[in-house]
C-alpha cells in the first residue's frame, strides 16, 4: 500500500511530463495545462495522506525499489525514505507546485510551446520529489542534478533568445560546480562509512567510536559547497539573478520556493554529519550572514522588479544558512516554509503585474497599479509585510527565531543579519511603492490595457497570501508544533521553546522596529518626496557599484571564463599544432635525410667501386689489423 502510494506520489508528475511531451501538442494548451496541474495535485494529495499517517505513527516509511549501483564496499538501492522532513518538504513542494501550475495555465496561455512548458514543470516537480524522497545520497543526487537540468530547460525556455540561453547555461554550470563538491562529499562519506543510506549512516556515526573528524569535516565542507551551488550562496550565487530570464512562474517555483532550498534540505538531512564539524558550521554561518547582507545591499538599488525579488531570495537563503550554521536546523526549515509562501506569492504577484504590462519589468515604468489591480496589490502587500518581519505575519516568527539564535551564538552575525532584514524591509516597500502607488509612468498604450489578472492568476495569489499571513502559526515561539514534529530527526535535543524572558522580547522588539524603520525610510523616499530611481546612465557613486552588483559577474568573467577560454585558444593554436608538428617532424626529417641521401647515388661507377673498396678495407682492417 505504502509502496504504491509512494510510487504514485513519485511518478505522477513524471507521467504528466511524458504525456505532455508526446501528446501535449495535440490535446491543446489548456488541456495540457490541466493535465500538468492534476498530476502535481495527485502527488500533493498522496503527500497529505502520508503526512497524516506519519503525524500519528511518528515513524518513517522506508521503501527499497531496486538495486541501482554498486561499488566494492557498498551497494546503492533506488530507495525512498518518507520521514517527517521529506514529507514536510513534499507538502510545500507539491502544494505550491500545483498552485503555480494552476497559475501558469493562464499566465503562459499565449505561448506556442505551452505543453512543453508544463512538461518541463512536471519534470521539475518529479526531480524535486526524487531529491526530497530519496533514501540515500545518490538518489538525492539524481534529483539534485535533475532539478538543475529542469531549471536549465526552463530558464532557456524562450530559446530563440541567446541571452536567455546564456543565463540557462550559466545556471547549469554554476550548479555543476556545486555538484562536484557534493560528489566529493559523497565519495568521502562512502569511503568512510561504506554506505550512502541516511538511516544506516546515522546509526553508523552514532555507534562508531573513533571517527576521523578531519575527513568528516572535509566531507561536510564539500557538501556545503554543493549546497552553495544550489542555494545560491557566496561565491556561487550569481546565477540566480540571471535565472530570472525564465518565465515568472518558473522563478516563483524553482528559484524562490523549492529548488533553491535543496541545499538547506540536504544539510538538514545530514545534520548528524554537520554536527561533527563545528568549524564548518561556523563557515556556513558566516557565509550565510555575509550573503544575506551583500544580496540585500544589491537589492536596494535594482530597478527590475524580478531582480529585486531574486536578490531578496538570495539574502533570505543567506539567513537560513545562518541558522543552519548555528545548528538550528528546525529554525532554518521554518524560515524555508514561510519564505516559500511569501516569496512565491511575491513572484506570482510580480508576474501578474508584468502580465498586465505586457512584459514590462522595469519599476521605473510602473506605478499606480493599486487602483486597477486590487487583489494583486493586497496579496503583494501582505507578503511584503511578511518578508519584512512585521507581526503577526509568518515572516516575523521565522526571521525572529533566526535572529534570536544568531544573538545567542554570535552578536556580530546577529548585527549583520538584523541590518540585512532592515534593508529587506526597505527594498520590499520601495518595490511596493514604486509599483502600486502614485500614478502610472508607463506608455499610454500600456495604460489603456491595464487590467486585473484573471482569476486563475489571482486565486493562487490569494491562497499564498493567506498562507503567508498565517504560516507562522506552525511554530509559535512559546509552543512550536514544528519543532516537536521535526524532533526525531535531530540527534541533539532541540532547545525546546526557551522560556521567554526580557532579552527575547527586546530582541523581538528590535527586529520589528528595524523592519518598521526600513519601511519608514522607503515611505519617506518614495511617497513623501516621491523620488523615482535614476536612469541607468545617471546612476553614480556607491549606488552604481551596487546597481552593477559589485561587478562580481565581470570579475568572474575576467578571472575564470576568459582565462579558460584563452587557455583553450592557446592549447588549440599552439600546443596542438606543436604536438602534431613534432610527430610530422619525425617524418619530415627522415624525408629530408632521404633527399640528401639521393645525392650519394651519383651514378658514377668509379665512385661506387671506390666505396666498395673502402667498405672492404674497413671491414678487413677492423677484423684483422685492429685486433
Amino acid at each position: 500500500m505504502n509502496t504504491n502510494l509512494a510510487l504514485l506520489l513519485l511518478l505522477a508528475p513524471l507521467l504528466g511530463f511524458l504525456f505532455n511531451i508526446f501528446f501535449g501538442k495535440n490535446i491543446g494548451k489548456t488541456a495540457s495545462g490541466v493535465v500538468g496541474t492534476l498530476t502535481v495535485a495527485v502527488s500533493f494529495i498522496a503527500t497529505l495522506v502520508f503526512f497524516l499517517q506519519i503525524n500519528e505513527t511518528k515513524e518513517a516509511v522506508e521503501i527499497d525499489l531496486f538495486n541501482w549501483m554498486r561499488t566494492n564496499n557498498f551497494r546503492v538501492n533506488f530507495g525512498l525514505l518518507l520521514d517527517q522532513l521529506s514529507i514536510l518538504w513534499l507538502l510545500f513542494v507539491t502544494g505550491i507546485g500545483s498552485l503555480i501550475h494552476l497559475y501558469s495555465i493562464s499566465y503562459m496561455h499565449d505561448d506556442e510551446n505551452m505543453h512543453k512548458f508544463f512538461a518541463y514543470l512536471n519534470l521539475f516537480v518529479f526531480f524535486m520529489i526524487t531529491l526530497v524522497i530519496g533514501s540515500n545520497l545518490l538518489v538525492l543526487f539524481i534529483g539534485w542534478e535533475g532539478v538543475g537540468l529542469c531549471s536549465y530547460l526552463l530558464i532557456g525556455f524562450w530559446h530563440k533568445n541567446q541571452e536567455y540561453n546564456d543565463a540557462a547555461k550559466k545556471a547549469f554550470i554554476m550548479n555543476r560546480i556545486g555538484d562536484l563538491g557534493l560528489l566529493i562529499g559523497i565519495f568521502i562519506i562512502g569511503s568512510l562509512f561504506s554506505t550512502l543510506d541516511y538511516t544506516t549512516l546515522k546509526t553508523a556515526i552514532a555507534s562508531s567510536s573513533n571517527l576521523d573528524l578531519s575527513m568528516i569535516s572535509l566531507a561536510a565542507f564539500a557538501l556545503f559547497i554543493g549546497a552553495c551551488g544550489k542555494s545560491a550562496q557566496i561565491p556561487l550565487y550569481t546565477w540566480l539573478p540571471d535565472a530570472m530570464a525564465g518565465p515568472t512562474p518558473v522563478s516563483a517555483l524553482i528559484h524562490a520556493a523549492t529548488m533553491v532550498t535543496a541545499g538547506i534540505f540536504m544539510i538538514t538531512r545530514l545534520n548528524f554529519v554537520f554536527d561533527l564539524a563545528p568549524e564548518i558550521q561556523n563557515i556556513i554561518a558566516i557565509i550565510g550572514a555575509v550573503t544575506s547582507l551583500v544580496a540585500a545591499t544589491i537589492a536596494l538599488v535594482q530597478t527590475d522588479i524580478k531582480k529585486v525579488l531574486a536578490y531578496s531570495t538570495v539574502s533570505q537563503l543567506g539567513l537560513m544558512f545562518l541558522a543552519l550554521g548555528f545548528g538550528a536546523y528546525e529554525v532554518a526549515v521554518f524560515h524555508v516554509i514561510t519564505h516559500a509562501f511569501f516569496k512565491a506569492c511575491l513572484f506570482l504577484g510580480s508576474g501578474s503585474v508584468i502580465h498586465a504590462l505586457h512584459g514590462e519589468q522595469d519599476m521605473r515604468r510602473m506605478g499606480g497599479l493599486k487602483k486597477v489591480m486590487g487583489i494583486t496589490f493586497i496579496t503583494f502587500l501582505i507578503s511584503s509585510l511578511a518578508i519584512s518581519g512585521i507581526p503577526p505575519f509568518s515572516g516575523f516568527f521565522s526571521k525572529d527565531e533566526i535572529l534570536m539564535t544568531a544573538f545567542q551564538h554570535n552578536v556580530v552575525l546577529w548585527g549583520i543579519a538584523s541590518l540585512a532584514s532592515l534593508m529587506t524591509a526597505f527594498y520590499m516597500f520601495r518595490l511596493l511603492y514604486l509599483t502600486f502607488y502614485k500614478d502610472f509612468r508607463g506608455t499610454e498604450h500600456q495604460k489603456s490595457h491595464l487590467h486585473e489578472s484573471p482569476s486563475l492568476i489571482t486565486f493562487p495569489l490569494i491562497v499564498l497570501a493567506i498562507l503567508a499571513a498565517v504560516g507562522g502559526l506552525i511554530s509559535l515561539p512559546t509552543n512550536s508544533w514544528l519543532n516537536g514534529y521535526l524532533a526525531p530527526l535531530f540527534s541533539k535535543e532541540v532547545h525546546e521553546a526557551h522560556h521567554f524572558g526580557t532579552q527575547e522580547y527586546t530582541l523581538m522588539a528590535i527586529a520589528v522596529i528595524g523592519g518598521l524603520v526600513g519601511i519608514g525610510i522607503a515611505f519617506a523616499k518614495y511617497i513623501k518626496q516621491n523620488q523615482i530611481p535614476a536612469e541607468d546612465a545617471e546612476i553614480t557613486g556607491i549606488a552604481k557599484v551596487l546597481y552593477n552588483k559589485y561587478y562580481v559577474d565581470e570579475i568572474y568573467d575576467a578571472i575564470f571564463v576568459n582565462s579558460i577560454n584563452a587557455l583553450s585558444r592557446f592549447f588549440r593554436d599552439y600546443i596542438e599544432t606543436a604536438l602534431s608538428a613534432f610527430v610530422f617532424g619525425l617524418g619530415k626529417v627522415t624525408n629530408e635525410i632521404s633527399y640528401q641521401g639521393k645525392k650519394l647515388q651519383t651514378g658514377s661507377i668509379g665512385f661506387y667501386l671506390f666505396v666498395f673498396v673502402l667498405g672492404l678495407c674497413s671491414i678487413v682492417t677492423y677484423l684483422f689489423l685492429a685486433q
Binding site: M69, H159, R176, L180, L183, G190
Partner: protein, 480 residues
Amino acid sequence: MNVSLLLIILLVGAFATYFAGDKLASRVALLFSLVAFGISIALLNAYNAGANINFFKFWINKPAISYSLTADGLSLIMLLLTTALTPLIIYSSFGNEYKNAKSFYALILFMSFAMAGTFLASDGLLYYIFWELSLIPIYFIALIWGNGDTEERKKAVVKFFIYTLAGSLFMLIAFVYLYQKAGSFLIADLYNVKLSRVEQFWIFWAFFLAYAIKIPIIPFHTWQAKVYQKAPTVGTMLLSGIMLKMGLYSVLRWQIPITPIASKTYLPILIGFGIAGVIYGSIVALRQKDLKKLLAYSSLAHVGLIAAGCYSLNSDGLRGAVLQMLAHGFVVVGLFFAAEIIYRRFETRTIADMGGIRTQAPKFASLFMILVLASVALPTTFNFVGEFTVLYSLAQINLWFALLGGTTIILSAYYMLKMYQQVMLGETNTKVFADVTLHETLVLVIIVAVIFIFGLYPRPINELITPALDQIVRTLYKIQ
C-alpha cells in the same frame, strides 16, 4: 556453441557483402551483423548458463602460436558492444549514398570481425594479428570514403596509420620477448611468466606506447581529431565507438596483469596522464569550430577518465572503466550520428553555420539533448554510472585525483551545452532543416533506450563483468 562461429559469420559476411554488389551491399551487411549480434547474445546466455566459452587449436608449432579464443565476462561485454554497435552503425549509414558501396560495407564487416577477434583472442600473437588487421579496413574507409580535401585527408590518415602501427610494433617486440621468456604466447602462461623489475618496466612501456596511441592518451592523441574529422562518419563511429575501446580493453587484459609491478609503480603517473587528458581534452574542446573535431576532443577527455579508471588498479576503477567504455561507445556513436544528421541537411560541420535548428526539428532537438546530457553524465544515464564509479575509485586512491578528474563534470557541461546552444538554439535558421526521418529516429531512440535502461539498471552488466575484473585484480596482487 563454438565461439569462432561468430568470427566466421562476420568474415563470410564481409565477402558476401562484397559479392552482393553495390545495390544490396548495405542490407546484406546489416543482415550479417545482426546475425553476429544474435550469436553473441547466444554466447552470453551460454556463459550465464555456466558454459565456459573457449576454442583452442594449434596453429604454428615453432614458435608455438595457437588459434585460441576465450571469452570471460569482460570479453563478452566488449564483444556485445562490438556486435551491437556494428549493425547500428551500418543502419545509420542508410541515408547516405556511397560510391563502390560493396567494398565499403565489406570493409566495415571485416573491421568488426577483426575487432571481435581482438576481444576474444587469448593467444598473444593471435591477439596482435587481429589488432593489426583491424587497422587496415579503417585506413581504407577513412582514405577512400572520407571527406574534405584529399591531400589533407591523406596526410591525416597516413599519419594515423603509421603512428598506430609504430606503437603496436613495439608491443610486438614485447610479445616476442615474453615468448622467449615464457615459451608460449598463451595468455595464461604470459600471466605466470616471472619477470624482473627491469624487464617488466620495458615491457610495460612497450605496451603503453601501443595503447596510449590507440586510446589515445595525451600527448599521443595528435592523430585523433583530424582523422575523426576527415573520416566518413561511419568510420568515425567505428573508431571512437569500438576501436579505441580495444586499447582500453587491452590495458586490462594484457598490460596490467602481465606487468603488475610496473603498473603499480607507475600508477600515479598513469592516472595523471589520464586526468591530464580529461582536463586538456575538455579545454581544447571549448573552442573548436568543427563539430566533429569538438566531439573528438570531448571523446579524448572521456577516454582519459576511462584510462585513469583502468590504471587505478582497483576493481571499482576497472568496473567503472568498463561501464564507461560501453556508455561512451553508445553515446559517442549517437553524437557523431547527430552530427551526420545535421551534415545531411546543411552540408556543413562548421558550428558557426548552424543554430536555430530546435524550432524546426523538435524531435531531433530532444534526442540530441538527451545525448548531450548523457555525455555530461547526468544521473540516470549510463554514463553517470560509469563516471561515478571511476571517480569514486580515484577518490579511494587520492582525493585530488577525484577532484581534478571531477572537473570533467563542470567542463563537459560547459563545452557540450555551449555546443548545443550554438548548434541547436537561437533564432530560427534561414535554411530548412527537415526533422529526423524514421530510420534516423530509430537509431537515436535505440541508443537513448540503452542509455537509460543501463543508466537505471546497470546490475546485469555489473554481475557479468565483476568476476572477470576481480580475477584481473587478483592476478595483479598475487605477485608481490
